[in-house]
């Protein structure tokens, strides 16, 4: 019972307070644009230079992609991809990746 309560509390805490992103759309975009480097669900990137995205905070992914798009964060590859994304695409991708499971977790 106690475990269940803790699990429920944890789920409530990490509930993806998404800014209205559509995870299904995000999945479709990710398969075309992101999966080749970050892995199909963002959990197993193909190279250690590429971060795990699965389970990352929704708003952090939005922030990172928006900064790549604007050039505030500079990475030639990510800029080229992010430039092609609309604001809605970015929200959809964040909704998708933040809802996936991986080794990534909150670490004190």
């Amino acid at each position: 019972m106690r475990t269940l309560l803790i699990a429920m509390a944890a789920l409530a805490l990490c509930g993806n307070a998404s800014a209205g992103g559509n995870a299904a759309n995000g999945k479709a975009i990710s398969e075309k644009v992101c999966a080749a480097c970050h892995g199909l669900d963002g959990a197993k990137p193909v190279a250690p230079e590429n971060p795990i995205l699965a389970g990352q905070y929704n708003d952090y992914i939005v922030k990172a992609l928006s900064d790549y798009k604007s050039g505030k964060r500079s990475n030639p590859v990510m800029k080229a991809f992010a430039e092609q994304l609309k604001k809605k695409d970015i929200e959809d991708l964040a909704a998708w990746f933040s809802a996936q499971q991986s080794n990534l977790h909150f670490q004190r």
Partner: protein, 109 residues
Amino acid sequence: MTPIRKTMLAALLLAAAPVYAQQAAGDPKEAHKKIAMCEGCHGIPGYRTAYPDVYPVPKLGGQSAVYLANALNAYKAGQRKHPSMRGIAASLSDKDIADLAAYYAEGHK
């Protein structure tokens, strides 16, 4: 070529370029003395940074050590610009960065 295809090609070409980053093996145990400066933000679940933009600081546990070290080095060099991260990373040695990257990548839950 569609823009996506062009970008894919560019990505592949860049990926094929040699990686020059020297990744010394970090010691997670050494990091215990150094994580105090990280915990103030990354050690609070869902903590949101307020300046210059409001957004949650990323989860680090289980992340790739190479990615984490590259991020810290980019902040240190001023290529990534978050003011607090810039200041903190500037105070880290190569060994500190390797140890911290190893600590978070190891990711005890």
